[in-house]
């Protein structure tokens, strides 16, 4: 007598091949958790498809057998989006790791889910392009996943938010249908924009954590690699002061990259690593599902020393030139930046704190982020509070976090802070890290409690967690009224069997 389990495994094996159906519990253990505080949960099995057609077939089987599916494309998850459901199947898309096309004329690249930032950056570097990369992602993060999850990038064109750099994508809907969003939905139309047809479908699938389908291909816009690229720094005593400096710059539409970091985050980025560890960092192997290798004593010492040399917050703005007259572009923008500073009481310099080649490190980081993840090694792990804020409330929200930290006797000096202006500082993406030793259970509990407390306090004050992972989901959706109700209706309509990552968001 053949068990249901075996039947299903066999059906899956027929689609993806027997070697690509994982039933070994030791291997499955690697899917059971990520760096978030979500409780561990082992999947029933994992499948590794190699094509969109195979994904479609897997989805059809899941419908037939009511199997929960959790798509996953990155080695390490940070927020629990890829954590499996009890009795569910992880659809591991990392075999789909081809860069399908780099279109140098029309400035876009087409990738499968398994393409990481490390891989893609190498490919685009060679051709004089860059893909806008989030600082907060790891080099091992799937490009597709981070764009589809609206991870903010530092380098976006003036008017856009990160995901507006998406040109199109293909998604396997819960029904098993392969659906293309945007103008390329019309056969043969080249990648242009993700809007339509008919409605802006693409918006449903962004920030959805795989609950409304599995994205199997993404076309993302490329940016030209600057010919001239310069970084400038200004100190600020508070995040409030920093955002106002940023606002002035962004309103004048000056510069390309522009962020502010607190001394914790910036110092962490600059700590020296061994060549071996540096290679791990670049390849995305430094941070694993159980955390990162903790820093040595000398690294901690260096970190402390760096922090002393840095102001509480540092605003970084980069000027970039490409095209026919790149030098002239940077030259006039530099003059404008100086004038703006003189009129508004701030001044940018090419260096900060006597730190050698800081500018080159920063410029390289913005193009190929790999240093920012060093902060994981401070204690082994980081847990982010990431939300969107209007300019006038960034300081207020930082205050809420700090107040929560004090309540839980968590040292404020151990909190990382990064703010990124979005859309010419119409809003700010705020990313505050709570560092934690993942091997210390008490500390994990304490940090989790602080994270939950701070999250609740932030949401109640109106901080907008636009990507409500884990504990943020009930906080946000319980307050969102009809929005939540209609999201659920949408889910019910598109996924009547509730097979797509059930239990996430408000589903």
């Amino acid at each position: 007598m053949v068990s249901v389990e075996d039947t299903v495994h066999k059906e899956l094996a027929q689609i993806v091949g027997p070697d690509n159906v994982i039933r070994d519990s030791l291997v499955l253990e690697r899917y059971s958790h990520d760096l978030s505080f979500l409780p561990r949960c082992c999947p029933w099995c994992a499948v590794l498809p190699s094509s969109a057609a195979q994904v479609q077939e897997v989805v059809k089987i899941a419908n037939a057998w009511q199997l929960p599916l959790t798509p996953r494309s990155s080695e390490v998850g940070l927020f629990g989006g890829g954590a499996p459901c009890p009795g569910g199947v992880v659809v591991d898309l990392r075999r789909m790791n081809r860069i399908l096309e780099v279109n140098e004329r029309n400035w876009y690249v087409e990738v499968e889910p398994g393409v990481t930032y490390a891989l893609l950056q190498r490919a685009t570097d060679k051709r004089g392009f860059r893909v806008a990369s989030p600082l907060t992602c790891l080099p091992s993060t799937s490009v597709l996943t981070s764009y589809v999850e609206r991870e903010p990038v530092v380098t976006a064109a003036d008017f856009t938010y990160g995901n507006e750099l998406i040109a199109t994508f293909d998604i396997v809907l819960p029904s098993g249908q392969l659906f293309t969003v945007g103008h390329p939905a019309l056969t043969g139309t080249p990648a242009s924009a993700p809007d339509g047809p008919g409605l802006n479908f693409y918006r449903f699938f962004l920030g959805a954590q795989g609950t409304l389908g599995i994205v199997t291909k993404l076309t993302v816009r490329l940016l030209p690699m600057p010919v001239i690229h310069r970084a400038y720094f200004a100190g600020a005593d508070s995040v409030g002061e920093a955002v106002h400096i940023i606002k002035a710059i962004q309103q004048h539409e000056l510069g390309l990259e522009c962020i502010a970091m607190n001394r914790f985050d910036l110092a962490a980025m600059l700590v020296d690593f061994t060549p071996e560890d540096t290679e791990y960092l670049r390849d995305g192997r430094y941070v694993g599902i159980d955390g990162a290798k903790p820093w040595s004593d000398s690294q901690l010492e260096q970190f402390a020393s760096l922090k002393k040399r840095l102001p509480p917050w540092t605003v970084i703005v980069c000027l970039a030139g490409w095209g026919p007259l790149p030098t002239e572009k940077v030259a006039y923008q530099e003059l404008d930046l100086n004038e703006l500073g003189a009129d508004n009481g701030f001044a940018f310099r090419g260096a900060l704190g006597g730190i050698p080649v800081l500018d080159r490190q920063i410029l390289d980081e913005f193009v190929r982020p790999w240093r920012f993840q060093k902060r994981f090694g401070y204690k082994g792990s980081c847990h982010a509070l990431s939300f969107i804020s209007p300019i006038g409330r960034v300081g207020e929200f930082e205050g809420v976090i700090n107040a929560a930290a004090c309540r839980h006797e968590y040292p404020l000096t151990d909190i990382g802070g990064l703010v990124i202006p979005i859309e010419r500082a119409r809003a700010f993406y705020c990313h505050f890290d709570l560092t934690c030793d993942p091997s210390d259970l008490d500390e994990r509990v304490k940090t989790k409690t602080l994270l939950d407390d701070a999250s609740a306090a932030l949401v109640s004050r109106g901080a907008f967690f636009d990507r409500p992972y884990g504990p943020w989901a009930p906080l946000m959706f319980d307050r969102a009224g009809e929005y939540t109700i209609y999201l659920k209706k949408l889910k019910q309509q598109l996924d009547p069997n509730n097979i797509m990552n059930p239990g996430r968001l408000c589903f």
Binding site: A193, L212, L490
Partner: protein
């Protein structure tokens, strides 16, 4: 015994008051036609379904909810309308038992947030009105389409609005931040940061999946009615503007802006120049300055327009570029240098000699004024609106000339498309139009022929994508889109409008 219509009428009068609801035929006639080919054709056919049964004017979200609930309950259809200016008959009824919901009384600018660079408005606020208030505060919305600046700004944005500064500020619909939306069943959905009490109106996307996607693009008013919207603003460096000498057609160019007219020997050169300019990261506006449009807009009478067109006063392959000194005048200096380099490289010529005769662009490029002159011959219909990358435009141009060879009926029917370069050159929208006397059935027929031919011919060629789907094909979306696409539209329709109350048949046929 009262009919359903009478009961609904009385119910609406109870809610809105007798001044704001009517079933009088003379009032209803004024909502039965727009200038789309669809609507005009049906008027020639004397289709009675074009005339709504009731017209209602709500003044608040609560009143809109009440109207929609009433309609839903009694099985009446609802067609929402703000200014009603669109090219494909969206706001004109095509069913019996129809209520037109005129949102004209909801016409306030609720807030201009200078710090967060947003404005919150009600449905009947126009581009021009909003700009008039924001420009005083050093902000603007980024422009207007060549459609009249007095049309509803949000409805235009929701209906995939594009404008002439798409190059720098993205297409119009990227300007929508969030909405307060009344569903056909009378529920209110707040999208974006509005969904979270205390967060304010400043942000879009989410929480989680963004429902605003359902209400955007060419959604045809079929999923509900918005009663408030927050839109993005950008820095305005143009000073006290607009200003026009009262001798017509010579508006001043805004301060800190320059405009250039450049012509080329052929389409290919022009196309390449547009590619290079957009990819160089300069300018705020980059668009073709079509000879037909120039002829229409620059001249005060139709006779003069036809004369200058036939005399070839305006070059065929001509573009206009606007450069703004947003950070400083140095920006203008730099960008102009780059522009001149590219133009020289591509064999173009700056046409400063046209500056005076094309002075209407000083206004139209920022806030359209005289552009409605393209309707002076009577009607104006989009025969084709497609989107793609810049390089495919030459193929479109070729196809368009083939179609005109068969169907041209008016000398100014466009050969050269309007091409808007969007999102810093990542994509381009192009449009071609036909002009006809709406009262002349034969001309209307010819124009429909052009539109249909364009649809069929373009579909045969790979790489030529559609953007909006003009009558009579609004619910077909073309064979290339695959057999199941309409099922996905039905999915969405079922979520928000299970009884198919709103604008039935325009997004998808639920039957």
């Amino acid at each position: 015994m009262n009919t359903v219509k009478e009961m609904v009428l009385n119910a609406l009068i109870n809610v809105l008051g007798p001044d704001w609801v009517t079933d009088d035929l003379s009032i209803r006639q004024a909502y039965s036609k727009d200038a789309s080919l669809a609507s005009v054709w049906r008027k020639h056919a004397k289709d009675p379904k074009t005339v709504p049964d009731i017209v209602a004017l709500p003044s608040s979200t609560e009143e809109v909810q009440a109207v929609l609930r009433t309609a839903n309950r009694w099985g009446m259809k609802v067609v929402p309308v703000t200014t009603g200016s669109n090219m494909i008959g969206l706001c004109v009824p095509q069913h019996e038992n129809c209520i037109v919901l005129d949102l004209k009384r909801m016409n306030r600018i609720l807030d201009v947030d200078v710090t967060n660079m947003t404005a919150t408005v009600q449905p009947y606020v126009s581009f021009a009105r909003l700009q008039s208030e924001t420009m005083k505060r050093g902000l603007w919305n980024g422009g207007t389409p060549l459609a009249p600046a007095v049309v509803g700004i949000v409805t235009n944005m929701m209906f995939n609005g594009i404008w002439q500064s798409c190059l720098a500020y993205g297409a119009g619909f990227r300007s929508l931040v969030n909405l307060k939306w009344v569903t056909p069943t009378g529920d209110v959905i707040n999208t974006g940061s509005r969904a979270l009490p205390g967060a304010g109106n400043f942000w879009w996307h989410g929480p989680g999946p963004d429902l605003m996607g359902a209400f955007q693009f060419t959604h045809y008013g079929a999923l509900g009615v918005f009663t408030e919207a927050t839109i993005k603003l950008h820095r305005w460096v143009g000073g006290d503007w607009p200003n026009e000498e009262k001798v017509y057609d010579h508006p001043q160019l805004p301060a800190n802006h320059r405009i250039y007219f450049i012509d080329f020997q052929d389409f290919r050169q022009m196309n390449e120049a547009m590619y290079q300019i957009s990819h160089a990261g300069i300018a705020t506006h980059l668009e073709t300055a079509m000879d037909a449009w120039n002829a229409f807009c620059s001249q005060p009478t139709q006779a003069l327009s036809e004369k200058v067109f036939c005399e070839g006063v305006f070059p065929k392959h001509c573009i206009y570029v606007v450069i703004a000194g947003i950070s400083s005048p140095r920006q203008i200096e730099y960008e102009e240098k780059v522009l001149r380099l590219i133009v020289a490289r591509c064999g173009g010529r700056f046409r400063d000699d046209l500056r005076d005769v094309l002075a209407t662009w000083h206004g139209d490029a920022f806030r359209s004024g005289d552009t409605v002159r393209v309707t002076r011959h009577g009607g104006y219909a989009i025969t084709r609106m497609g989107v793609s990358v810049i390089d495919t435009q030459e193929e479109y141009y070729k196809v368009q000339r083939e179609i005109l060879a068969k169907f041209r009926h008016y000398k100014l029917d466009e050969e050269m498309p309007e091409m808007y370069i969007c999102d810093r050159g990542y994509w381009v929208i192009h449009e071609t139009d036909t002009y006809y006397d709406q009262g002349d059935k034969e001309q209307v027929k010819d124009s429909r022929g052009q539109a249909k031919a364009a649809f069929v011919d373009y579909q045969k060629r790979d790489g030529l994508g559609w953007y909006i789907f003009v009558e009579p094909l609004t619910t077909i979306h073309g064979p290339n889109i695959g057999p199941d696409f309409h099922l996905r539209l039905k999915d969405i329709k079922r979520v928000f409008d299970p009884k198919d109350t709103m604008n039935p048949g325009k997004l998808v046929n639920m039957g």
